[in-house]
Protein backbone atom coordinates (compact mmCIF):
# COMPACT_ATOMS: atom_id res chain seq x y z
CA UNK A 1 0.00 0.00 0.00
CA UNK A 2 1.44 3.35 -0.93
CA UNK A 3 2.07 5.91 1.74
CA UNK A 4 0.50 8.92 -0.01
CA UNK A 5 -2.12 10.70 2.06
CA UNK A 6 -5.73 9.67 1.62
CA UNK A 7 -6.76 13.32 1.58
CA UNK A 8 -4.54 16.27 0.89
CA UNK A 9 -5.84 19.80 0.70
CA UNK A 10 -3.62 22.77 0.05
CA UNK A 11 -4.32 26.48 0.08
CA UNK A 12 -8.05 25.84 0.18
CA UNK A 13 -9.93 29.13 0.02
CA UNK A 14 -13.60 29.92 -0.25
CA UNK A 15 -15.26 33.32 -0.18
CA UNK A 16 -18.91 34.23 0.00
CA UNK A 17 -19.67 37.56 -1.57
CA UNK A 18 -16.08 38.68 -1.14
CA UNK A 19 -15.88 37.61 2.52
CA UNK A 20 -13.41 34.76 3.01
CA UNK A 21 -14.91 31.86 4.99
CA UNK A 22 -11.80 29.78 4.39
CA UNK A 23 -8.42 31.38 3.87
CA UNK A 24 -5.80 28.97 2.56
CA UNK A 25 -6.24 25.84 4.65
CA UNK A 26 -3.69 23.02 4.35
CA UNK A 27 -4.41 19.57 5.71
CA UNK A 28 -3.29 15.97 5.23
CA UNK A 29 -5.08 12.85 6.31
CA UNK A 30 -3.60 9.34 6.23
CA UNK A 31 -5.34 6.01 6.21
CA UNK A 32 -6.09 4.74 9.67
CA UNK A 33 -5.88 8.22 11.14
CA UNK A 34 -8.55 10.24 12.95
CA UNK A 35 -7.97 13.99 12.91
CA UNK A 36 -10.12 16.31 15.00
CA UNK A 37 -11.17 19.61 13.46
CA UNK A 38 -11.75 22.15 16.22
CA UNK A 39 -12.63 25.80 16.37
CA UNK A 40 -15.26 28.15 17.72
CA UNK A 41 -18.60 28.62 16.00
CA UNK A 42 -18.25 30.32 12.66
CA UNK A 43 -14.58 29.47 12.33
CA UNK A 44 -15.17 27.64 9.05
CA UNK A 45 -15.26 23.97 10.08
CA UNK A 46 -18.48 23.09 8.29
CA UNK A 47 -17.53 25.28 5.32
CA UNK A 48 -14.28 23.30 5.06
CA UNK A 49 -16.21 20.04 5.00
CA UNK A 50 -18.64 21.44 2.44
CA UNK A 51 -15.80 22.52 0.16
CA UNK A 52 -13.90 19.24 0.48
CA UNK A 53 -17.07 17.23 -0.23
CA UNK A 54 -17.94 19.24 -3.32
CA UNK A 55 -21.02 21.03 -1.97
CA UNK A 56 -19.25 24.34 -2.61
CA UNK A 57 -16.56 24.92 -5.20
CA UNK A 58 -13.35 26.28 -3.76
CA UNK A 59 -12.40 29.83 -4.74
CA UNK A 60 -8.76 28.72 -4.79
CA UNK A 61 -6.63 25.79 -3.67
CA UNK A 62 -6.50 22.09 -4.35
CA UNK A 63 -8.14 18.92 -3.08
CA UNK A 64 -6.61 15.48 -3.67
CA UNK A 65 -8.44 12.29 -2.75
CA UNK A 66 -6.41 9.06 -2.77
CA UNK A 67 -3.84 10.72 -5.01
CA UNK A 68 -6.35 12.01 -7.58
CA UNK A 69 -6.95 15.68 -8.15
CA UNK A 70 -10.54 16.26 -7.08
CA UNK A 71 -10.60 20.06 -7.00
CA UNK A 72 -14.03 21.32 -7.95
CA UNK A 73 -15.48 17.82 -8.41
CA UNK A 74 -19.19 17.31 -7.89
CA UNK A 75 -20.22 15.38 -4.76
CA UNK A 76 -21.11 12.25 -6.72
CA UNK A 77 -17.69 12.35 -8.39
CA UNK A 78 -15.99 12.55 -5.00
CA UNK A 79 -18.09 9.63 -3.79
CA UNK A 80 -16.68 7.57 -6.65
CA UNK A 81 -13.14 8.62 -5.71
CA UNK A 82 -13.80 7.31 -2.20
CA UNK A 83 -14.81 10.31 -0.11
CA UNK A 84 -17.97 10.84 1.89
CA UNK A 85 -19.31 12.92 4.75
CA UNK A 86 -22.08 13.28 7.31
CA UNK A 87 -24.05 16.45 7.95
CA UNK A 88 -24.06 18.58 11.08
CA UNK A 89 -27.86 18.66 10.86
CA UNK A 90 -28.59 15.11 9.72
CA UNK A 91 -30.11 14.78 6.25
CA UNK A 92 -31.50 11.28 5.80
CA UNK A 93 -34.06 10.49 3.13
CA UNK A 94 -36.94 11.05 5.53
CA UNK A 95 -39.65 9.41 3.47
CA UNK A 96 -37.63 6.24 2.88
CA UNK A 97 -37.06 3.35 5.25
CA UNK A 98 -33.68 2.95 6.90
CA UNK A 99 -32.88 -0.01 4.68
CA UNK A 100 -33.80 1.99 1.56
CA UNK A 101 -31.67 4.89 2.80
CA UNK A 102 -28.63 2.64 2.84
CA UNK A 103 -29.67 0.75 -0.27
CA UNK A 104 -29.60 3.88 -2.46
CA UNK A 105 -26.01 4.50 -1.43
CA UNK A 106 -25.03 0.85 -1.93
CA UNK A 107 -26.33 0.94 -5.51
CA UNK A 108 -24.56 4.11 -6.54
CA UNK A 109 -21.34 4.17 -4.56
CA UNK A 110 -18.34 1.86 -4.43
CA UNK A 111 -19.73 -1.32 -3.01
CA UNK A 112 -18.12 -1.95 0.39
CA UNK A 113 -19.13 -5.61 0.27
CA UNK A 114 -21.60 -5.36 3.13
CA UNK A 115 -25.36 -5.68 3.11
CA UNK A 116 -27.82 -2.97 4.15
CA UNK A 117 -28.51 -4.73 7.43
CA UNK A 118 -24.85 -5.23 8.23
CA UNK A 119 -24.15 -1.54 7.78
CA UNK A 120 -27.17 -0.54 9.87
CA UNK A 121 -26.05 -2.98 12.56
CA UNK A 122 -22.56 -1.48 12.53
CA UNK A 123 -24.02 1.98 13.10
CA UNK A 124 -26.18 0.84 15.97
CA UNK A 125 -29.40 0.82 13.98
CA UNK A 126 -29.82 -2.95 13.73
CA UNK A 127 -33.39 -4.20 13.63
CA UNK A 128 -34.77 -0.85 12.51
CA UNK A 129 -34.42 -1.40 8.77
CA UNK A 130 -38.14 -1.17 8.06
CA UNK A 131 -38.76 2.07 9.96
CA UNK A 132 -39.12 5.36 8.12
CA UNK A 133 -36.14 7.62 8.64
CA UNK A 134 -38.36 10.48 9.79
CA UNK A 135 -39.37 8.45 12.82
CA UNK A 136 -35.81 8.46 14.19
CA UNK A 137 -34.53 10.84 16.85
CA UNK A 138 -31.70 13.17 15.96
CA UNK A 139 -28.89 11.03 17.25
CA UNK A 140 -30.22 8.04 15.31
CA UNK A 141 -30.56 10.22 12.21
CA UNK A 142 -26.91 11.17 12.57
CA UNK A 143 -25.97 7.52 12.69
CA UNK A 144 -28.11 6.90 9.61
CA UNK A 145 -26.17 9.67 7.83
CA UNK A 146 -23.03 7.78 8.78
CA UNK A 147 -24.49 4.49 7.59
CA UNK A 148 -25.34 6.02 4.23
CA UNK A 149 -21.85 7.42 3.91
CA UNK A 150 -20.30 4.04 4.79
CA UNK A 151 -22.47 2.29 2.22
CA UNK A 152 -20.61 4.10 -0.57
CA UNK A 153 -17.36 2.44 0.57
CA UNK A 154 -15.37 5.57 1.42
CA UNK A 155 -11.63 5.69 2.14
CA UNK A 156 -11.98 9.22 3.48
CA UNK A 157 -14.81 10.09 5.83
CA UNK A 158 -15.67 13.60 7.03
CA UNK A 159 -17.80 13.42 10.18
CA UNK A 160 -19.53 16.68 11.13
CA UNK A 161 -20.52 16.62 14.80
CA UNK A 162 -21.67 13.08 15.26
CA UNK A 163 -21.67 13.37 19.06
CA UNK A 164 -23.38 16.74 19.39
CA UNK A 165 -26.87 16.26 20.70
CA UNK A 166 -26.19 12.65 21.72
CA UNK A 167 -26.99 11.50 25.22
CA UNK A 168 -24.05 10.95 27.52
CA UNK A 169 -24.43 7.19 27.52
CA UNK A 170 -24.30 7.01 23.72
CA UNK A 171 -20.95 8.74 23.43
CA UNK A 172 -18.69 5.80 24.23
CA UNK A 173 -20.34 3.66 21.57
CA UNK A 174 -19.99 6.42 18.98
CA UNK A 175 -16.33 6.90 19.85
CA UNK A 176 -15.67 3.20 19.54
CA UNK A 177 -17.43 3.11 16.18
CA UNK A 178 -15.30 5.92 14.75
CA UNK A 179 -12.05 4.40 16.01
CA UNK A 180 -13.08 1.08 14.50
CA UNK A 181 -13.71 2.72 11.12
CA UNK A 182 -10.22 4.21 11.18
CA UNK A 183 -8.64 0.97 12.34
CA UNK A 184 -10.12 -0.69 9.24
CA UNK A 185 -7.99 1.63 7.11
CA UNK A 186 -10.14 4.70 6.57
CA UNK A 187 -9.03 8.26 7.12
CA UNK A 188 -11.39 10.30 9.29
CA UNK A 189 -11.76 14.04 9.77
CA UNK A 190 -13.99 14.67 12.77
CA UNK A 191 -15.60 17.97 13.74
CA UNK A 192 -16.65 17.97 17.36
CA UNK A 193 -17.23 20.32 20.25
CA UNK A 194 -17.23 17.82 23.08
CA UNK A 195 -13.61 17.73 24.21
CA UNK A 196 -13.94 14.46 26.05
CA UNK A 197 -15.12 12.87 22.86
CA UNK A 198 -12.33 14.46 20.84
CA UNK A 199 -9.78 13.14 23.32
CA UNK A 200 -11.26 9.65 23.08
CA UNK A 201 -11.38 9.51 19.31
CA UNK A 202 -8.68 11.57 17.62
CA UNK A 203 -4.98 11.02 17.06
CA UNK A 204 -4.28 14.68 16.48
CA UNK A 205 -6.21 17.92 15.99
CA UNK A 206 -6.29 20.92 13.70
CA UNK A 207 -7.71 24.17 15.09
CA UNK A 208 -9.46 26.62 12.78
CA UNK A 209 -10.14 30.24 13.54
CA UNK A 210 -11.64 32.77 11.15
CA UNK A 211 -11.17 30.37 8.26
CA UNK A 212 -7.49 29.69 8.83
CA UNK A 213 -5.73 26.76 10.50
CA UNK A 214 -3.96 28.26 13.50
CA UNK A 215 -2.73 25.03 15.03
CA UNK A 216 -1.95 21.42 14.11
CA UNK A 217 -0.71 18.86 16.60
CA UNK A 218 -1.80 16.84 19.59
CA UNK A 219 -4.73 17.84 21.75
CA UNK A 220 -2.40 18.16 24.75
CA UNK A 221 -0.20 20.65 22.89
CA UNK A 222 -3.26 22.49 21.68
CA UNK A 223 -4.39 23.13 25.23
CA UNK A 224 -1.01 24.75 25.96
CA UNK A 225 -0.90 26.81 22.80
CA UNK A 226 -1.60 30.47 23.62
CA UNK A 227 -3.36 31.18 20.30
CA UNK A 228 -5.70 28.24 20.78
CA UNK A 229 -6.43 29.19 24.37
CA UNK A 230 -7.11 32.74 23.24
CA UNK A 231 -9.57 31.53 20.62
CA UNK A 232 -11.46 29.24 22.96
CA UNK A 233 -11.32 31.08 26.22
CA UNK A 234 -10.35 34.60 25.30
CA UNK A 235 -7.90 34.46 28.21
Amino acid sequence: MDDSPALRISGLTRSFGGLPALAGVDLELRRGEVVGLLGPNGSGKTTLINVISGVYRPTAGRVEVMGHDATGSAPEGLVRLGLNRTFQTPRPFRTLTLRENVSVALRHGRNPGQSEDEILQLCGLGGKGNLLAESLNSSEQKRLDLARALATGPDVLLVDELAAGMRHDELDGAAELLRGLAAAGRALLVVEHLMGFVRQVTHRVVVLNAGAAIFAGSLEEASQDPRVVEVFLGA
Binding site: V55, E76, V79, R80, F93, R94, S103, G109, R148, T152
Partner: protein
Protein backbone atom coordinates in the same frame (compact mmCIF):
# COMPACT_ATOMS: atom_id res chain seq x y z
CA UNK B 1 -39.33 -13.89 2.69
CA UNK B 2 -39.46 -15.64 -0.67
CA UNK B 3 -43.24 -15.44 -0.74
CA UNK B 4 -43.42 -11.70 -0.57
CA UNK B 5 -41.57 -10.76 -3.74
CA UNK B 6 -43.65 -13.28 -5.68
CA UNK B 7 -46.89 -11.87 -4.34
CA UNK B 8 -45.57 -8.44 -5.13
CA UNK B 9 -44.74 -9.53 -8.66
CA UNK B 10 -48.23 -10.90 -9.19
CA UNK B 11 -49.91 -7.77 -7.90
CA UNK B 12 -47.63 -5.60 -10.02
CA UNK B 13 -48.45 -7.66 -13.11
CA UNK B 14 -52.14 -7.33 -12.35
CA UNK B 15 -51.82 -3.57 -12.04
CA UNK B 16 -50.25 -3.44 -15.48
CA UNK B 17 -52.65 -5.86 -17.19
CA UNK B 18 -56.01 -5.24 -15.53
CA UNK B 19 -56.57 -1.55 -16.38
CA UNK B 20 -56.11 -1.96 -20.16
CA UNK B 21 -58.09 -5.21 -20.06
CA UNK B 22 -60.85 -3.39 -18.23
CA UNK B 23 -60.99 -0.65 -20.84
CA UNK B 24 -60.97 -3.22 -23.60
CA UNK B 25 -63.84 -5.11 -22.00
CA UNK B 26 -65.74 -1.90 -21.36
CA UNK B 27 -65.82 -1.21 -25.08
CA UNK B 28 -68.19 -4.17 -25.50
CA UNK B 29 -70.68 -2.81 -22.97
CA UNK B 30 -70.46 0.87 -23.59
CA UNK B 31 -70.86 2.29 -27.03
CA UNK B 32 -69.35 5.75 -26.62
CA UNK B 33 -65.90 4.72 -27.83
CA UNK B 34 -64.56 8.25 -28.07
CA UNK B 35 -65.38 8.86 -24.42
CA UNK B 36 -63.55 5.71 -23.38
CA UNK B 37 -60.63 6.59 -25.58
CA UNK B 38 -60.41 10.09 -24.14
CA UNK B 39 -60.53 8.61 -20.67
CA UNK B 40 -57.64 6.31 -21.54
CA UNK B 41 -55.69 9.24 -22.96
CA UNK B 42 -56.20 11.03 -19.63
CA UNK B 43 -55.13 7.94 -17.69
CA UNK B 44 -51.88 8.01 -19.66
CA UNK B 45 -51.48 11.76 -19.11
CA UNK B 46 -52.21 11.53 -15.39
CA UNK B 47 -49.72 8.68 -15.02
CA UNK B 48 -47.14 10.52 -17.11
CA UNK B 49 -47.54 13.54 -14.87
CA UNK B 50 -47.30 11.20 -11.91
CA UNK B 51 -43.86 10.03 -13.08
CA UNK B 52 -42.40 13.53 -13.07
CA UNK B 53 -44.46 15.25 -10.35
CA UNK B 54 -45.15 12.32 -8.06
CA UNK B 55 -41.62 11.01 -7.99
CA UNK B 56 -39.45 14.11 -8.44
CA UNK B 57 -41.69 16.95 -7.23
CA UNK B 58 -41.32 18.87 -10.51
CA UNK B 59 -44.74 20.15 -11.55
CA UNK B 60 -44.96 21.00 -15.27
CA UNK B 61 -47.95 23.28 -15.87
CA UNK B 62 -46.99 23.11 -19.51
CA UNK B 63 -47.32 19.33 -19.67
CA UNK B 64 -49.77 19.80 -22.55
CA UNK B 65 -46.80 20.90 -24.68
CA UNK B 66 -45.68 17.27 -25.03
CA UNK B 67 -49.22 16.22 -25.82
CA UNK B 68 -49.41 18.77 -28.62
CA UNK B 69 -45.92 17.85 -29.79
CA UNK B 70 -47.07 14.22 -30.01
CA UNK B 71 -50.17 15.16 -31.99
CA UNK B 72 -48.21 17.31 -34.41
CA UNK B 73 -45.33 14.85 -34.57
CA UNK B 74 -47.74 12.21 -35.76
CA UNK B 75 -49.43 14.52 -38.24
CA UNK B 76 -46.13 15.67 -39.73
CA UNK B 77 -44.90 12.08 -39.96
CA UNK B 78 -48.00 11.10 -41.88
CA UNK B 79 -47.84 14.10 -44.20
CA UNK B 80 -44.15 14.33 -44.88
CA UNK B 81 -42.62 10.94 -44.12
CA UNK B 82 -45.60 8.93 -45.41
CA UNK B 83 -44.91 6.26 -42.79
CA UNK B 84 -47.58 3.80 -41.63
CA UNK B 85 -49.82 5.29 -38.97
CA UNK B 86 -48.47 3.10 -36.14
CA UNK B 87 -44.96 4.28 -36.90
CA UNK B 88 -46.30 7.81 -37.01
CA UNK B 89 -47.83 7.32 -33.55
CA UNK B 90 -44.49 6.12 -32.23
CA UNK B 91 -42.83 9.12 -33.84
CA UNK B 92 -45.38 11.25 -31.97
CA UNK B 93 -43.99 9.78 -28.76
CA UNK B 94 -40.50 10.54 -30.03
CA UNK B 95 -41.58 14.12 -30.71
CA UNK B 96 -42.62 14.47 -27.05
CA UNK B 97 -39.28 12.98 -26.03
CA UNK B 98 -37.31 15.33 -28.28
CA UNK B 99 -39.11 18.42 -27.00
CA UNK B 100 -38.41 17.26 -23.46
CA UNK B 101 -34.76 16.68 -24.28
CA UNK B 102 -34.60 20.18 -25.74
CA UNK B 103 -36.23 21.58 -22.60
CA UNK B 104 -34.21 19.49 -20.14
CA UNK B 105 -32.19 22.57 -19.08
CA UNK B 106 -35.42 23.68 -17.38
CA UNK B 107 -34.77 20.99 -14.77
CA UNK B 108 -32.09 23.26 -13.36
CA UNK B 109 -34.95 25.43 -12.09
CA UNK B 110 -36.97 24.53 -9.04
CA UNK B 111 -40.47 24.94 -7.70
CA UNK B 112 -42.52 27.78 -9.13
CA UNK B 113 -39.77 28.68 -11.59
CA UNK B 114 -39.88 25.28 -13.19
CA UNK B 115 -43.67 25.10 -13.19
CA UNK B 116 -44.07 28.44 -14.91
CA UNK B 117 -41.12 28.00 -17.27
CA UNK B 118 -42.66 24.78 -18.53
CA UNK B 119 -45.93 26.64 -19.04
CA UNK B 120 -44.10 29.30 -21.03
CA UNK B 121 -42.43 26.56 -23.08
CA UNK B 122 -45.78 25.02 -23.95
CA UNK B 123 -47.20 28.40 -24.92
CA UNK B 124 -44.12 29.18 -27.01
CA UNK B 125 -44.51 25.84 -28.75
CA UNK B 126 -48.16 26.60 -29.45
CA UNK B 127 -47.34 29.99 -30.97
CA UNK B 128 -44.58 28.36 -32.98
CA UNK B 129 -46.81 25.62 -34.40
CA UNK B 130 -49.74 27.93 -35.11
CA UNK B 131 -47.59 30.64 -36.64
CA UNK B 132 -48.94 31.64 -40.07
CA UNK B 133 -45.36 31.87 -41.37
CA UNK B 134 -45.02 28.13 -40.83
CA UNK B 135 -48.18 27.25 -42.73
CA UNK B 136 -46.18 25.24 -45.24
CA UNK B 137 -45.00 22.93 -42.47
CA UNK B 138 -47.65 22.81 -39.74
CA UNK B 139 -50.52 24.38 -41.69
CA UNK B 140 -50.29 27.16 -39.08
CA UNK B 141 -53.53 28.15 -37.44
CA UNK B 142 -55.60 26.18 -39.92
CA UNK B 143 -55.16 22.84 -38.21
CA UNK B 144 -54.48 19.31 -39.33
CA UNK B 145 -56.47 16.73 -41.22
CA UNK B 146 -55.59 13.06 -40.77
CA UNK B 147 -58.70 11.67 -42.47
CA UNK B 148 -56.52 9.56 -44.78
CA UNK B 149 -55.43 7.35 -41.89
CA UNK B 150 -58.62 7.46 -39.82
CA UNK B 151 -59.40 4.13 -38.15
CA UNK B 152 -61.31 4.49 -34.89
CA UNK B 153 -61.08 0.80 -33.95
CA UNK B 154 -57.31 0.65 -34.35
CA UNK B 155 -56.87 3.94 -32.50
CA UNK B 156 -58.93 2.53 -29.65
CA UNK B 157 -56.73 -0.56 -29.46
CA UNK B 158 -53.65 1.64 -29.48
CA UNK B 159 -55.07 3.59 -26.54
CA UNK B 160 -55.65 0.32 -24.65
CA UNK B 161 -51.99 -0.54 -25.16
CA UNK B 162 -51.01 2.98 -24.12
CA UNK B 163 -52.78 2.49 -20.78
CA UNK B 164 -50.78 -0.69 -20.30
CA UNK B 165 -47.53 1.12 -21.12
CA UNK B 166 -48.39 3.96 -18.74
CA UNK B 167 -49.17 1.52 -15.93
CA UNK B 168 -45.96 -0.38 -16.67
CA UNK B 169 -43.90 2.82 -16.47
CA UNK B 170 -45.35 3.80 -13.12
CA UNK B 171 -45.11 0.29 -11.65
CA UNK B 172 -41.51 0.13 -12.78
CA UNK B 173 -40.66 3.55 -11.37
CA UNK B 174 -42.43 2.67 -8.13
CA UNK B 175 -40.66 -0.67 -7.66
CA UNK B 176 -37.25 -0.26 -9.26
CA UNK B 177 -34.01 0.97 -7.81
CA UNK B 178 -34.31 3.86 -10.22
CA UNK B 179 -37.57 4.81 -8.54
CA UNK B 180 -35.94 4.50 -5.15
CA UNK B 181 -33.25 6.93 -6.27
CA UNK B 182 -35.94 9.33 -7.45
CA UNK B 183 -37.68 9.18 -4.09
CA UNK B 184 -34.33 9.71 -2.40
CA UNK B 185 -33.65 12.75 -4.58
CA UNK B 186 -37.04 14.13 -3.74
CA UNK B 187 -36.46 13.63 -0.03
CA UNK B 188 -33.06 15.37 -0.12
CA UNK B 189 -31.17 16.14 -3.35
CA UNK B 190 -27.87 16.87 -1.63
CA UNK B 191 -27.96 13.66 0.38
CA UNK B 192 -28.78 11.79 -2.81
CA UNK B 193 -25.63 13.17 -4.39
CA UNK B 194 -23.73 12.11 -1.31
CA UNK B 195 -25.14 8.62 -1.85
CA UNK B 196 -23.50 8.74 -5.28
CA UNK B 197 -26.69 9.30 -7.26
CA UNK B 198 -26.35 11.31 -10.46
CA UNK B 199 -29.26 13.60 -9.66
CA UNK B 200 -29.37 15.40 -12.99
CA UNK B 201 -29.40 12.18 -14.97
CA UNK B 202 -32.10 10.55 -12.84
CA UNK B 203 -34.39 13.57 -13.09
CA UNK B 204 -33.82 13.81 -16.82
CA UNK B 205 -34.77 10.18 -17.33
CA UNK B 206 -38.02 10.68 -15.39
CA UNK B 207 -38.69 13.81 -17.43
CA UNK B 208 -38.15 11.98 -20.72
CA UNK B 209 -40.37 9.05 -19.72
CA UNK B 210 -43.09 11.45 -18.64
CA UNK B 211 -42.87 13.44 -21.87
CA UNK B 212 -42.87 10.34 -24.06
CA UNK B 213 -46.10 9.15 -22.43
CA UNK B 214 -47.72 12.51 -23.11
CA UNK B 215 -46.39 12.45 -26.66
CA UNK B 216 -47.91 9.01 -27.28
CA UNK B 217 -51.17 10.14 -25.70
CA UNK B 218 -51.26 13.17 -28.02
CA UNK B 219 -50.42 10.98 -31.01
CA UNK B 220 -53.23 8.52 -30.35
CA UNK B 221 -55.67 11.30 -29.55
CA UNK B 222 -54.80 13.02 -32.84
CA UNK B 223 -55.25 9.76 -34.72
CA UNK B 224 -58.63 9.17 -33.09
CA UNK B 225 -60.11 12.60 -33.75
CA UNK B 226 -58.23 13.01 -37.05
CA UNK B 227 -59.11 16.70 -37.55
CA UNK B 228 -57.88 19.28 -35.08
CA UNK B 229 -56.64 22.83 -34.62
CA UNK B 230 -53.53 23.80 -32.70
CA UNK B 231 -55.70 25.29 -29.91
CA UNK B 232 -57.25 21.88 -29.34
CA UNK B 233 -54.04 19.97 -28.67
CA UNK B 234 -52.20 22.79 -26.88
CA UNK B 235 -55.21 23.64 -24.68
CA UNK B 236 -53.98 24.41 -21.19
CA UNK B 237 -56.98 22.65 -19.72
CA UNK B 238 -55.38 19.36 -20.80
CA UNK B 239 -52.57 20.11 -18.32
CA UNK B 240 -55.18 21.06 -15.75
CA UNK B 241 -57.03 17.77 -16.17
CA UNK B 242 -53.88 15.70 -15.90
CA UNK B 243 -52.87 17.56 -12.74
CA UNK B 244 -56.31 17.33 -11.17
CA UNK B 245 -56.70 13.63 -11.93
CA UNK B 246 -53.26 12.79 -10.59
CA UNK B 247 -53.66 14.96 -7.48
CA UNK B 248 -57.14 13.72 -6.79
CA UNK B 249 -56.10 10.09 -6.78
CA UNK B 250 -52.78 10.72 -5.13
CA UNK B 251 -49.42 11.34 -6.79
CA UNK B 252 -46.52 9.02 -6.11
CA UNK B 253 -48.84 6.01 -6.06
CA UNK B 254 -49.52 3.48 -8.80
CA UNK B 255 -53.30 3.42 -8.67
CA UNK B 256 -54.10 7.00 -7.62
CA UNK B 257 -53.88 8.75 -11.00
CA UNK B 258 -55.69 5.84 -12.66
CA UNK B 259 -58.56 6.11 -10.21
CA UNK B 260 -58.51 9.89 -10.38
CA UNK B 261 -58.87 9.90 -14.15
CA UNK B 262 -61.58 7.24 -14.23
CA UNK B 263 -63.62 8.66 -11.37
CA UNK B 264 -63.42 12.33 -12.23
CA UNK B 265 -63.71 11.99 -15.97
CA UNK B 266 -66.47 9.44 -15.52
CA UNK B 267 -68.42 11.61 -13.09
CA UNK B 268 -68.04 14.58 -15.37
CA UNK B 269 -69.56 12.67 -18.26
CA UNK B 270 -72.22 11.07 -16.11
CA UNK B 271 -73.44 14.40 -14.82
CA UNK B 272 -73.30 15.56 -18.38
CA UNK B 273 -71.76 18.97 -17.83
CA UNK B 274 -72.27 20.62 -21.16
CA UNK B 275 -70.44 23.90 -20.82
CA UNK B 276 -66.64 23.83 -20.62
CA UNK B 277 -66.66 26.68 -18.11
CA UNK B 278 -68.80 24.67 -15.69
CA UNK B 279 -66.28 21.89 -16.01
CA UNK B 280 -63.49 24.37 -15.38
CA UNK B 281 -65.29 25.79 -12.38
CA UNK B 282 -65.82 22.40 -10.78
CA UNK B 283 -62.22 21.35 -11.37
CA UNK B 284 -60.89 24.65 -10.11
CA UNK B 285 -62.85 24.29 -6.90
CA UNK B 286 -61.71 20.70 -6.67
CA UNK B 287 -58.05 21.69 -6.93
CA UNK B 288 -58.47 24.21 -4.13
CA UNK B 289 -60.28 21.68 -1.95
CA UNK B 290 -57.72 18.96 -2.61
CA UNK B 291 -54.85 21.26 -1.64
CA UNK B 292 -56.64 22.45 1.49
CA UNK B 293 -58.10 19.20 2.73
CA UNK B 294 -56.62 16.24 0.88
CA UNK B 295 -53.07 17.18 -0.13
CA UNK B 296 -52.03 13.55 -0.57
CA UNK B 297 -54.97 12.47 -2.69
CA UNK B 298 -57.82 10.04 -2.42
CA UNK B 299 -55.64 7.02 -1.69
CA UNK B 300 -54.24 8.75 1.40
CA UNK B 301 -57.59 8.32 3.13
CA UNK B 302 -57.19 4.58 2.93
CA UNK B 303 -53.55 4.75 3.99
CA UNK B 304 -54.45 6.95 6.93
CA UNK B 305 -57.08 4.49 8.08
CA UNK B 306 -54.64 1.61 7.73
CA UNK B 307 -52.05 3.46 9.72
CA UNK B 308 -54.53 4.28 12.44
CA UNK B 309 -55.74 0.67 12.48
CA UNK B 310 -52.28 -0.67 13.15
Amino acid sequence: MAQRPRRQLVSDALMVVLPPAGFFAASFFYNNQLLLLTMMVYVALAQGLNVIFGFTGYLPFGYVGFFGAGAYGTALSVHFLHVPILVAVLLGGVAGLLVAALLSPLLRLTGAYFAIASLAAAEALYYLVSNPQLTAVTNGPYGVNLASVYNSGAAFDAAVILVGIAMLCVVWVRRSHFGMSLRAIRADPLSARMAGVNVVRARTIAWLISASLAGLAGAIYAWAISVFYPEAVFDLSISVFAIVFALFGGVGTVLGPLLGAIVLYGVYNYIGVSQPQEFQLIYGVLIVLIVLFLPNGLLSIRLRRLRRGR
